[in-house]
């Protein structure tokens, strides 16, 4: 699995779609910072199927990004294709308080 972080985007019928590739850590700061400005629909879905390791800095950046999306864009956040490890990590650190996991 690739380690360098990148984001690809798409548009679903009713939501904005983004896929996260690689590890989410301090190197992801720039891309995650600009992401809220790209949201235009009331629902945004993040695909973690190609995501690798997420460390504490990555968690901090995701929390900040999700909070901005909820506050500024009033959008609902859905998370898909989380592996068991990242699901445990999100539960542990409260990410699921801002975003819900969907099948």
């Amino acid at each position: 699995m690739e380690t360098a972080f990148r984001v690809t985007s798409g548009r679903g019928t009713s939501c904005d779609l983004f896929s996260f590739h690689g590890n989410i850590d301090a190197q992801a700061e720039h891309l995650l910072k600009e992401l809220p400005s790209r949201i235009s629909r009331p629902v945004v879905r993040f695909d973690f199927g190609s995501t690798g390791r997420i460390n504490s800095m990555g968690i901090a950046l995701l929390l900040r990004c999700f909070k901005l999306i909820k506050e500024q864009k009033k959008a609902e956040i859905e998370l898909v294709a989380l592996n068991p490890m990242n699901a445990i990590l999100f539960k542990m650190t409260g990410v699921f308080l801002l975003a819900k996991q969907v099948p």
Binding site: D25, N55, S56, M57, A60, M85, K91, M92
Partner: protein, 322 residues
């Protein structure tokens, strides 16, 4: 033969039978005191025999939830004692705020009824031995005898990924459980190295010297070394830095804050150490102020991933470095 001051255990009158058996099995010569309304009286009687306990073991079924004042009360009677809380794996994790207030630095989780692994059993006896003899915790303590411990001194921050790959590469197998274990170990390595590379280096005023993720050389004086071993069941690992900037009270504050403020998006410090604690079975931190910090612990293939299962820790401050 050297004799140690007695070790006292404070237990509940009911519901602490398993802890009592564990204490009898693992801590020879322990004096057990059932905590009732006249606890001070019992302790004063003990002191009148001329024996001042060096270590007080407190049942997690008493403290901190049921009797939050217990440690401060005992400390008034036995001011020099070290405190060790023992919480059962099947009980709710103890709320750490009170442990922080009372400067309690040791928490052991007694194994669940069916857990017969060597690394799970014997942790209490091991903790008591280290605390009474003043021996530091090390990674090898948790590995089968003869297991090779690998050592990586760091010269540059970008060596982190190679070390993570080396640790994860020790774990063979391709089942879902093995993959989860491998990912857990990789994240633990990442967090321990991030802590040594970016959280430890501080100015004398306590300001962080480097930005997280910043690529930087590591000088010899920093003495950042990562050690790990895998005996087929248990991975033990530790990261050492030559800064010695971590403070025990800060660690407990970080653990307590993150335990109760999940989802806080402010600049909550200590999320990394909280994650390390949650994924390890037992965390140990040894601090020689201004000279060295060791953050380490172990995790087993069969360690529970259930977040409701409590985790233990030991935080010790040493006067000098070995």
């Amino acid at each position: 033969m050297q004799s140690h001051p007695p070790i006292v255990a404070l237990v509940r009158d009911t519901g602490d039978n398993r802890l009592r058996k564990l204490l009898t099995d693992e801590v020879p010569g322990i004096v057990t005191v059932v905590v009732g309304p006249h606890l001070s009286l019992s302790l004063e009687k003990l002191l009148m025999t001329g024996q001042s306990p060096r270590l007080v073991i407190v049942s997690g079924r008493l403290y901190p939830a049921e009797r939050p004042e217990l440690v401060s009360l005992v400390r008034r009677v036995i001011p020099g004692a070290e405190f060790l809380v023992v919480s059962a794996a099947e009980d709710k994790p103890p709320v750490l705020h009170q442990l922080g207030v009372d400067r309690v630095r040791h928490l052991v989780i007694s194994p669940a009824a069916g857990d017969t692994a060597d690394a799970a059993r014997g942790q209490l006896g091991h903790a008591v031995k280290n605390l009474t003899e003043g021996t530091p915790w090390t990674a090898v303590d948790y590995l089968k005898e003869g297991t090779k411990v690998h050592e990586f001194p760091l010269c540059r921050s970008d060596e982190k990924e190679a070390i993570i790959a080396a640790v994860a590469g020790l774990i063979d197998g391709d089942s879902d459980e093995t993959e989860l274990f491998r990912q857990k170990v990789a994240l633990l390595t990442d967090e321990m190295l991030e802590n040594a590379l970016y959280a430890a280096p501080r100015t004398p005023e306590g300001e962080q010297l480097y930005r997280k993720g910043e690529q930087r050389p590591v000088s010899r004086e920093e003495q950042i070394v990562f050690r790990f071993g895998f005996d087929g069941e248990t991975v033990a690992m530790e990261a050492t830095d030559g800064w010695g900037s971590l403070r025990p009270e800060t660690v407990i504050q970080h653990l307590a804050k993150n335990q109760t403020l999940a989802g806080d998006v402010g600049e909550t410090g200590g999320r990394g150490i909280f994650i390390i604690w949650q994924f390890l079975e037992q965390l140990y931190i040894s601090i020689c102020p201004g000279r060295r910090t060791v953050v380490g612990g172990h995790v087993r293939r069969s360690s529970p991933t259930d977040l409701e299962v409590p985790r233990g820790f030991h935080i010790v401050t040493t006067a000098c470095c070995i």
